[in-house]
């Protein structure tokens, strides 16, 4: 009997596999596995991965934004504290400067006052000296004049002498009046 015919006859038994159907089954499965395994499933895997990354990336972004916000807030707070500190320092400094300035001005005032007073004293002293020397000169001259007059007049009596002296003193007073 032809072996092929025998195989065909045996295939009446449902547990004996017909060879051509094995071949077709293999081909059919290879078609499915080939296209799914080589192209279509890698395609979707890539996209699933992308999606996962997109989702996780979004979460990461949000976290990053939060961290940044936090750091900015801290920076801002630090700056604010620094600014307050700075302001306090400036105020303190200004107060100190003001105090020194006032003290300096006071010292300067004191000094100027003393200078003025000293200058006044010196002027007075000088005037006094000038007056004294002028007076001395005048007194000498007057004394000489008086002596001349006394000598020129006869020193007859005391009353006369007194008269001369009085007259002299009056003259002196007149001169002083005129000088004033």
């Amino acid at each position: 009997m032809n072996p092929l015919v025998q195989i065909a006859a045996e295939s009446e038994n449902p547990l004996l596999p017909p060879i051509p159907e094995i071949v077709i089954g293999l081909i059919a499965f290879v078609i499915v596995f080939g296209l799914l395994g080589k192209k279509l499933l890698p395609n979707i895997n890539k996209v699933l991965e992308e999606r996962r990354e997109a989702i996780e990336g979004g979460i990461e972004k949000a976290e990053a934004a939060q961290t940044e916000a936090q750091s900015v807030l801290e920076q801002y707070k630090a700056q604010l504290a620094e600014a307050r500190h700075e302001a306090a320092r400036l105020r303190q400094e200004a107060q100190e400067q003001g105090a020194t300035l006032i003290a300096e001005m006071r010292a300067e005032g004191q000094r100027q006052r003393e200078e003025i007073v000293a200058a006044g004293h010196a002027q007075i002293e000088a005037d006094r000296k000038a007056a004294a020397s002028a007076l001395r000169q005048d007194v000498g001259k007057l004394a000489t004049e008086l002596a001349g007059k006394l000598v020129g007049e006869s020193l007859e009596d005391h009353s006369r002498q007194s008269r001369v002296i009085d007259r002299f003193l009056d003259e002196l007073e007149e001169k002083a009046e005129a000088a004033r």
Partner: protein, 273 residues
């Protein structure tokens, strides 16, 4: 071949009860098809199951092509369905059995396997086709053999020759004098019986399911005469129930087939103990 019962559909005969006609029960002949092309006596032919197998591949590839050809981060309708299906096999079967780290490599194979088996099963209740491709032993067998070879190669790669032998025979000197017996049984169980049961489990389920559907369908037609009409109604309700049941069984069998494939792969990758 006018009398060939394999190619005559039940409603094409005028065979009813009380007409002096015997019940045209379904049988092995219901699983044989006259070639659409070529000669059934040679190995060069093309029949209905082959056509369904190739069409099934095209349907699967077509669906995933539409769904995943240009996938987007924000998915469309087809992509959403495709992703759910893909994720079911990936997370629900592969990650569960092999684990995420080791299993990732086998995801494409298992996904292909699952949808291939499911589609081939589904032909059973798709109008006009109405025949489960997996009820022909060749198709489950070729898939089981692919899984079996994968398992053998992986075991060799992972454990070397001695490790492979130990793994296959369940070598465990602590069990004492029954070791030779245990090793023989384990060897047969793993090497010879495993691919056979893997294939036959799927095949027999589909074979039986199809036979049941045929039985009630033919009976519905056959009883459609006289008082038999009432029974025909009952039978037809059974056709509907069995169709729904088959829909469930088809998915379960595809799931079981892939689950077993995963557990074999996992066994190959696992450390010998």
């Amino acid at each position: 071949m006018s009398a060939d019962p394999t190619q005559v559909l039940a409603f094409e005969t005028d065979c009813h009860i009380f007409n002096g006609c015997g019940f045209p029960a379904p049988g092995l002949h219901s699983f044989l098809f006259k070639p659409l092309w070529g000669d059934g006596d040679s190995n060069l032919y093309f029949n209905k199951t082959m056509l369904l197998a190739l069409l099934g591949s095209i349907v699967i590839v077509g669906f995933f092509w539409v769904a995943f050809r240009k996938p987007k981060v924000v998915p469309g309708k087809f992509q959403m369905v495709g992703e759910a299906a893909y994720d079911f096999v990936r997370r629900g079967i592969v990650y569960e059995t092999i684990g995420k780290r080791e299993g990732e490599k086998y995801v494409p194979f298992m996904v292909s396997l699952f949808f291939f088996v499911w589609m081939m099963n589904l032909w059973s209740i798709i109008p006009v086709a109405q025949f489960p491709v997996t009820a022909i032993i060749s198709y489950p067998l070729v898939l089981a053999l692919i899984v079996w070879f994968t398992w053998i190669i992986l075991t060799f790669k992972r454990h070397g020759f001695v490790g492979f032998f130990k793994n296959v025979t369940g070598y465990d000197p602590t069990i004492g004098p029954v070791l030779p017996l245990s090793m023989t049984i384990e060897f047969f169980s793993n090497i010879l019986v495993r691919p056979f049961t893997h294939a036959v489990r799927l095949f027999a389920n589909m074979f039986a399911g199809h036979t049941l559907l045929l039985l009630f369908t033919i009976a519905s037609w056959y009883l459609l005469n006289g008082i038999g009409i009432a029974y025909a109604g009952v039978s037809f309700v059974m056709v509907l129930l069995m169709t729904a049941f088959e829909l469930f069984i088809q998915a379960v069998q595809a799931y079981v087939f892939v689950l077993l494939a995963c557990s074999y792969v996992q066994g190959a990758l696992a450390e010998h103990h």
